[in-house]
Symmetry: C2
């Protein structure tokens, strides 16, 4: 098996070099073997793990959730209810976030459209911010 440097691992996984070292520090990634000159030498399995982590981070999973997902991956004979629960919880979060962002979008659009590009004292943007009652959405 070919070992690769941390820089190469970064290139291939899409995770930055300091972030890889950070993941090692918090125990997401095992400590790799070292070259004679004390440089980290990664194996293909580390690369897989890194890619898994990157993908999960992109999906917005927190490090603690990823820790659980990784330990599930390491024990493939367990029931996958935990993985399912984690993904479902994340899905609910994402759905909520989308709803809230849609409301914000509507409010921002109202602000921007209402701006007549005149002076600040007639500006809808400032006005809406100053007076919450003008919001169409009062959920926040």
């Amino acid at each position: 098996m070919k070992k690769i440097t941390i820089g190469e691992a970064a290139r291939q996984s899409g995770v930055k070099v300091p972030t890889i070292r950070y993941y090692e520090g918090i125990g997401l990634l095992r400590e790799p073997s070292r070259s004679e000159g004390n440089q980290r030498a990664y194996e293909p399995s580390d690369l897989h793990r890194l890619t898994f982590i990157r993908h999960a981070r992109e999906l917005g999973f927190e490090v603690e959730a990823i820790r659980t997902l990784l330990s599930l991956q390491d024990n493939p004979l367990q029931p996958c209810a935990s993985a399912d629960a984690i993904a479902k919880a994340r899905l609910v979060e994402v759905e909520q976030r989308i709803r809230s962002l849609m409301a914000l979008k509507a409010e921002l659009e109202m602000m921007v459209e209402g701006c007549g590009h005149g002076r600040v004292d007639q500006c809808r943007v400032i006005e809406v911010l100053a007076d919450h009652a003008q919001c169409t959405h009062h959920g926040h």
Copy 2:
């Protein structure tokens, strides 16, 4: 004008007490006058400013953007192009974030639906995370 305590200001503005002190520390809020016993005494104008800040934070504006928006509000005779630009930039951010979250939602739904509640080695959640090529959306 009636002065109020920081706790009352927190209650009326919806901004927590330590957060109000924090805003003062970073210069978003002026230093209020003090009572004999060195306790902060806020005026109605401070309350307006706090509400403005809270509302802007809820809309996701960063503190630096709010600093600019506040200085615009303080100088109402200026043209409002800056406020407009800030709001527009925020709108673009929100739209991008919504798009990206929609893609994540689709991917998470696929993961959750595919999970047959069996063992981890057949779990779609883990599988998709491990193999990025299975994603329907390759933007990330």
